[in-house]
């Protein structure tokens, strides 16, 4: 029952054949598959990390760009406001100058008209006083008092007021 014979060697060889066959047909494919999956997962993880880093970089870039654009827009707005203010200032200055000019010319006109009117009145007054003087002379030519009267009258005509009337 427990005798050893050639079967002993045969069984060792049988088992070694089985090991070789199992290794070739079953074990290797499984291990290779495990390795392939491990590699694939590792690769995916690496790729995900790289993608995330890339995304972060892009985000930082866009943020920087956005900040620059915002700063530029602000600058442009400021410039525009400044220019508008300057323009308004200039415009105001110009209008003021125009008004001043117009005021001055109007005043000059008024002054001229007044001078004219005064001149005209004076002429008329002289004529009138001459006429009055004529009448007085005709009545009392010799009286020195009358001469003084006329002179005073003429002197008064030089003042701003003609008689009691405001100019």
């Amino acid at each position: 029952m427990i005798e050893l014979n050639g079967t002993f060697i045969a069984q060792i060889i049988n088992f070694l054949i089985l090991v070789v066959l199992l290794r070739a047909f079953a074990y290797k494919p499984v291990v290779n598959m495990l390795k392939a999956r491990q590699d694939k997962i590792q690769e995916s993880l690496d790729k995900a990390d790289a993608d995330a880093a890339e995304a972060d970089k892009l985000l930082a870039q866009y943020k920087a760009k956005l900040a620059a654009a915002t700063a530029k827009a602000e600058e442009i707005q400021k410039n525009a406001e400044k220019r508008a203010a300057e323009f308004r200032e200039a415009e105001e200055q110009k209008v003021k100058a125009d008004i001043e000019q117009m005021k001055k010319s109007a005043q000059a006109d008024i002054e001229r008209d007044r001078a004219k009117a005064v001149e005209k009145l004076r002429t008329e007054m002289v004529a009138l006083s001459m006429a009055a003087a004529g009448k007085i002379i005709a009545k009392n030519m010799d009286s020195a008092d009358n001469e003084a009267l006329i002179a005073e009258f003429v002197d008064k005509l030089d003042k701003d007021k003609i008689g009691d009337l405001p100019c």
Binding site: N5, Q11, N14, L22, Y27
Partner: protein
């Protein structure tokens, strides 16, 4: 129904072979290969169904080997998994009527045990050289006697444990079938169930002890 302890023999090239053991071994090998190929064909990147089980077994085995032998023991994984599957199928094959376990023949079990022990010493010498021989003389040279007995005992205990368990199981099945009337199957069924359990346990023990012996030879010193 074959007679217990009497083996059919054939003569070939001057050697005697136990014909039944050889045939049963080949059947076992075919079954193991069939299972392995069926389980591992059509492997996919995204595992489904049986592929998960097969991969879990391989990963578990790798973890066991890493824990006991270190990384350089990985090349032994196919040997270990073959050993376990071969023994499991062998042990259970004998429970089928008209079949016999290859492991009920001492030629098989001692062959495997010696193969394991030769591998242990061969790998030990290959991987550690002089250190491997020196460790038989530690802590004092006198221990070489005890160590020698231990090394001789290893294959013998491995072989006879498996052989005895399986042969006893098969003998008792035959005896129960002859003793019990055909309408009383309960003892046979109980013993059959127990034999299934024993077959699994013995395959597991043989494989685990082989791994432990191999680990002793393969693992590097610093991994302790």
């Amino acid at each position: 129904m074959h007679e217990i302890g009497v083996r059919e023999v054939v003569q070939f090239a001057g050697f005697t072979f136990n014909w039944e053991t050889l045939v049963m071994t080949w059947i076992t090998m075919a079954i193991v290969l069939l299972i392995a190929v069926l389980a591992t064909r059509n492997l996919q990147m995204v595992p489904q169904g049986w592929q998960n089980v097969v991969e879990a077994i391989v990963v578990w085995l790798h973890e066991q080997i890493d824990a006991t032998m270190g990384k350089n023991g990985r090349f032994l994984a196919p040997f270990v998994v073959s050993l376990f599957m071969f023994l499991l199928v062998s042990n259970w094959l004998g429970l089928i009527p008209k079949m016999a376990s290859p492991t009920n023949d001492l030629n098989t079990t001692l062959g495997l045990a010696l193969l394991v022990i030769v591998m242990v010493h061969g790998l030990g010498l290959y991987m550690k050289g002089g250190h491997y021989i020196a460790h038989f003389f530690q802590p004092t040279p006198v221990f070489v006697i005890i160590n020698a007995i231990e090394e001789v005992a290893k294959p013998i205990t491995l072989a006879f444990r498996l052989f005895g368990n399986i042969l006893a199981g098969e003998i008792l099945i035959i005896i129960l079938l002859q003793l019990m009337p055909i309408w009383m199957p309960i003892p046979s069924v109980i013993w059959l169930a127990f034999s299934i359990f024993i077959g699994g346990v013995q395959a597991f023990i043989f494989t685990m002890l082989s791994m432990a012996y191999l680990a002793n030879a393969v693992k590097s010193e610093e991994e302790g």
